[in-house]
Symmetry: C2
Subunit: 198 residues, 2 copies
């Protein structure tokens, strides 16, 4: 997705060989026009899959997920990283280790909002080691629902999360795939789809 | 805003005399069509104010804020409730006590994204005691920017947050104002504006 790649190149900051900071348009400040384009793109990439719900994780997954939900006309559920007092009935939980923050988070959703009949599109801002995505898959499966696919805004293709998920047979669509962040430079993985579509 | 009030009546749950659970469409599951309508409504209510940025707080403020940002064509910044490793330079912080969760949260934004020239529209999902809004106002003022107004999805008008903010001279626009949650019943405050507009 060219608009996203261009944003990453102009406003992203490579902090380390494995850390890309996109606080300017995704993780702290949010560019609503870009989110709208991302929603449209995910809706197009998963148009062939049955999708009845979108599942993401707070906080940075929410903006792209809601825009996608609007284009696909389905509700969005966001997993919480800690329990809230007003969220008490039937919780489904999974463990997610965050390499960035070096903490183990419990993520949780209410079983009320995902049922056995649901076909769930999982969306997240980043894919690196795949921990968050695997946690979300775990929640969907605990609910007895079906994973329709996994949509990622930025995939660090030099880490093994994408491979893990694709090896398990999931359809993974990443809007920008990064091959390397070495030498403070963002190097994208060539993606035939990009060339065809854009 | 009739669509929102109708959602509250059909899908909201009154847990206690002061707690309304709207996990079905705002705080856990999100209705993107409703968020779109909310964004349009906020954009209309603040059309006369100069607005260059929207500031909200994770997580439930993000969806309505991003939709509003799309209609107003301005970026959204969300304050974080805890520090993140990738968010290190120039933090502005404020303390917010949450009566619901009974904890003191530090909220923070990077000073990079709000400057002295900015006119900031503050948006949040709920207004009760006004603690979150006051914390966000504090952040805007620390940045040397101007508060353009405060937009609230659901105001618990039986608590004093709205009065506090209006007494300070801020333009506060709440899309649903609740007079009482007694007897498990949602009772809305009459709002002349509603009658005129809808």
């Amino acid at each position: 997705m060219e608009l996203l790649k261009s944003k990453i190149l102009t406003e992203g900051k490579v902090l380390k060989d494995d850390i890309l900071k996109v606080d300017a348009f995704l993780n702290h400040q949010i560019d609503p026009v870009l989110m709208d384009a991302i929603g449209k793109e995910f809706a197009s990439r998963f148009a062939e899959q049955p999708v009845t719900k979108i599942l993401t994780i707070e906080s940075s997954g929410i903006a792209p997920a809601v825009m996608t939900g609007l284009y696909m006309n389905v509700p969005v559920v966001f997993a919480r990283k800690q329990k809230s007092l007003t969220l008490t009935d039937g919780l489904l939980t999974a463990q997610v280790y965050s390499f960035t923050k070096q903490v183990n988070n419990q993520i949780a959703i209410s079983s009320t909002f995902i049922s056995e009949q649901d076909h769930v599109l999982i969306l997240d801002d980043f894919l690196a080691n795949g921990q968050a995505a695997l946690g979300l898959i775990d929640l969907v499966q605990q609910a007895g629902a079906t994973v329709s696919g996994i949509g990622i805004v930025i995939e660090k293709a030099f880490q093994d999360g994408g491979e893990k998920l694709r090896d398990k047979g999931f359809k993974v669509e990443s809007l920008a795939r990064i091959k390397s962040l070495k030498n403070k430079t963002v190097d994208f993985l060539d993606d035939t789809r990009e060339v065809i579509n854009e």
